[in-house]
């Protein structure tokens, strides 16, 4: 992108006050950390405002000023809070140096259209900040778990050693516990035995159902669809209690097959939804053409339709897999202790023995989920590219 708008330096009153406002905002955290909120807010505002003014009017050279503030705040952080303070101070220094000159030089206007009013420019950046804040809000709980899983102690606490980045505060013992404890290994084995089979069933039935329901001549299509999707909508605990009593009566409760069937029922809606979505873009005349060439419906399905809807099938299958792999409510009812899955074991761990091993397992599961979702995204892009919907 090129600069759309000619830019010019802004008035000191503007950039100094904005930088001071940010200083006040970060001062909230520093102040609370040091036990004095008001001092933090006022100190942050005054300090950052003054530094911004000094950088732009006295030092003037941008590179020197930005290095200067980074080093200054890093040192200040180090004196206040040791090594972690150094890291935070360096970040603040970099951020405020960037911020000051970004505002001072008027660079913030460079990439927005020239006709925007100041209010619109403000909204342009506020909107991005809000989106960023929501993202942070959603992702922080997951990120916090990860360093805690390397805790050398048996509690969910950031110990002083960890905050000092002292290697003694960290350990892999919770990962070791996961890989050596027979409880966790049994649970992992059960999960690995249940999830793929449940996924296979979900994919088979879900794809068939989606294809059938996409035929215009099927009666009560919407009603059938609603029933098949219902496991996704009905509160899980209701399905679970229902399955418990039904499966007990037919002798499936507490069996491997029972858990697999229950998870397949939960996974089917995901497959139906994704496959139905792919079928929208499927050209029906292809099947008619195949029939015209003498192919029977089964051959048509596997040779013509299946390859085209495959991305939908695979992403539905991945969702079904994750559902089964992450599910705890239904398996608590339908399974017996012999089918203890990973989430069940985590649930027990949380309830009976709060140990960071759970966090280690959570970290591993998060990584697996990230890998699976990346695969889904890559497949989606590939299918779009194949259909020529987006530039490669």
């Amino acid at each position: 992108m090129v600069a759309l708008t000619p830019i010019s330096r802004t008035a000191p009153g503007f950039y100094v006050s904005v930088v001071a406002a940010f200083g006040a905002f970060f001062g909230v955290f520093i102040g609370t950390g040091q036990g004095n909120l008001i001092a933090g807010v006022i100190g942050g505002a005054v300090l950052m405002g003054a530094l911004a003014f000094v950088m732009t009017t006295i030092i003037k050279n941008e590179r020197a000023a930005r290095w200067g503030i980074t080093i200054l705040l890093a040192l200040g952080g180090y004196l206040l809070a040791g090594f972690p303070g150094l890291v935070i101070g360096t970040f603040f220094g970099w951020f405020f140096g960037f911020m000051t000159f970004w505002l001072y030089e008027g660079r913030y206007r460079a990439k927005v259209p020239p006709y925007l009013t100041p209010g619109q420019v403000l909204w342009h950046f506020s909107f991005r900040t809000i989106c960023g804040a929501i993202f942070v809000f959603l992702i922080t709980p997951i990120l916090v778990v990860m360093p805690l899983s390397f805790n050398a102690e048996d509690f969910f606490t950031f110990t002083p050693e960890m905050l000092r980045f002292d290697p003694a505060g960290y350990s892999l013992k919770h990962y070791r516990d996961f890989f050596t404890s027979s409880d966790w290994q049994n649970a992992l084995r059960n999960s690995v035995q249940i999830a793929p089979v449940a996924t296979l069933l979900s994919v088979t039935f879900g794809t068939l159902a989606a294809i059938g329901l996409s035929q215009p001549h099927v009666p009560f299509r919407r009603a059938i669809m609603a029933i098949l999707i219902s496991p996704m909508i009905v509160p899980l605990i209701i399905s679970a209690a229902g399955m418990y009593f039904f499966y007990s009566r037919v002798g499936l409760q507490g069996t491997y097959i029972g858990v697999v069937l229950a998870h397949a029922a939960l996974g089917i809606p995901f497959v139906i939804i994704t496959v139905t979505a792919t079928l929208v873009g499927f050209d029906r005349s292809l099947t008619r053409a195949a029939a015209n060439m003498g192919a029977n419906p089964v051959t048509t399905f596997f040779r013509v339709q299946m390859p085209l809807i495959l991305p939908g099938v695979i992403s539905g299958g991945l969702f079904a897999f994750i559902t089964s792999f992450d599910e705890v409510v239904v398996v608590l009812f339908v399974g017996s202790a012999g089918q203890k899955t990973l989430p069940w074991q985590m649930f027990i761990g949380l309830r009976e023995q709060i140990s960071p091993t759970i966090l280690a397992v959570a970290t591993i599961l998060v990584i697996i989920s990230i890998c699976l979702l990346t695969v889904v995204e890559l497949l989606r892009r590939r299918s779009e590219r194949l259909r020529g919907m987006s530039p490669a």
């Binding site: 509690f155 009593f245 409760q253 507490g254 202790a337 023995q353």
Partner: protein, 381 residues
């Protein structure tokens, strides 16, 4: 240090092994009958289940290599689980660990099997029949096979600056926000909390349960709890209580004494015990009603072994809960890993039991459902 630990551990193993030899001499009454080879045992998880595993499940499996034990950590929902299984006519639990009050409820509802203690449980080594060895204060129900006596007691952090070097010594310090400020934690259940509240509101110990039967008495207890409510964090699972203390989320809180022991002695946290007004409770096995013959035989064979004098004493080497048999008391030794004497950490130790509070299980069995509802309603108001 490492070496001593290893030595002590191996000593413990030797002791356990000698015990196993002794046990084979006393055959259970079902020995030789047809027995199932799989058994689902329901327990509490955590350090307690670990102590059961080490003290008698592993030795039992060593003697019976073809038996498989499946653990289900569902004792927290033991009553609900057994009700559901009986309603669905599908009993999948073979042996359930339950508290005395839960057992009374299960027994009243016909969900647990009534047993003859002298027939099912081994006599003491000197020949004293089981019913005498456990004693009436332990055998509180015909369905109950006691294992341990534990207590609800308090732990506090020893590094609270606001307390000016004072440490809580009396139960009423829990309600004293002036001298002992800071968050405290209590169990999210009425039992014990209601009694402690009345005790600190000037009610004599022997009148507490009479008071709690009346609406005014209940109100009085709730009013007392109200005074600390905004400073209280409520815990629901046994593991939460020590976690809250270790995390400095609370400075003072009730917990099972065994969990506190592990927090203080095994995890070396800056926490100390306050034994005043500790409230005893019992925990033991329950056999669900409706097991088939071979499974029942297996369960009985296991119980004969797992509740004998030596096994109950062995359990005390892993967790600081008092064995339910009188004859086990003399055999309680040192911690299996730390090698410290376990006796001073037992709730029944005279130094700890200067002002103990005996919870009335029978009373709670009758009033629990009602008071649970009132307590939950009070919590949300």
């Amino acid at each position: 240090m490492k070496l001593t630990k290893t030595l002590l551990a191996s000593t413990a193993l030797t002791v356990a092994a000698t015990g196993a030899v002794f046990a084979q001499d006393s055959k259970s009454p079902v020995a030789g009958m047809e027995m199932a080879n799989e058994m689902t045992i329901v327990s509490w998880g955590g350090a307690y289940q670990e102590s059961q595993l080490k003290a008698y499940v592993e030795p039992y499996l060593e003697m019976n290599p073809d038996v498989k034990v499946v653990w289900d950590e569902s004792s927290g929902e033991g009553v609900a689980g057994m009700r559901a299984q009986s309603e669905a006519n599908n009993v999948t639990w073979d042996l359930v660990d339950a508290t005395a009050a839960d057992t009374m409820r299960l027994c009243d509802e016909g969900l647990a099997m009534e047993i003859d203690h002298d027939e099912v449980l081994a006599p003491a080594p000197d020949g004293t029949p089981a019913s005498e060895d456990f004693g009436d204060e332990m055998l509180v129900s015909d369905c109950f096979i006691p294992q341990i006596a534990y207590s609800y007691t308090f732990g506090y952090r020893t590094d609270v600056a606001d307390w000016n070097g004072n440490a809580p010594t009396k139960i009423c310090d829990v309600f004293d926000l002036e001298n002992f400020p800071g968050k405290r934690s209590l169990e999210k259940r009425p039992h014990n909390n209601m009694e402690w509240a009345l005790m600190c509101d000037g009610v004599a110990q022997e009148d507490i349960y009479d008071m709690l039967e009346t609406d005014e008495g209940q109100q009085q207890a709730f009013d007392k709890l109200e005074t600390i409510r905004d400073q209280t964090v409520w815990w629901t699972s046994g593991a939460e209580a020590p976690q809250l203390l270790a995390d400095k989320e609370v400075v003072f809180g009730s917990a099972y004494n065994g969990r506190l022991f592990s927090l203080i002695e095994e995890q070396n946290q800056p926490i100390a015990m306050m034994w005043d007004a500790q409230s005893y409770d019992l925990d033991g096995w329950v056999i669900p009603e409706g097991l088939d013959e071979p499974t029942l035989n297996r369960v009985k064979d296991f119980l004969w072994f797992a509740t004998d004098t030596q096994r109950l004493a062995d359990q005390a080497a892993y967790i600081s809960y008092g064995p339910a048999r009188k004859s086990s008391a003399a055999l309680v030794g040192k911690h299996a890993v730390l090698g410290i004497d376990m006796a001073p950490h037992m709730p029944t130790n005279p130094d700890n039991a200067t002002n103990s509070f005996v919870q009335n299980y029978t009373w709670w069995a009758d009033y629990r459902d009602d008071l649970d509802a009132k307590f939950q309603a009070w919590l949300v108001n």
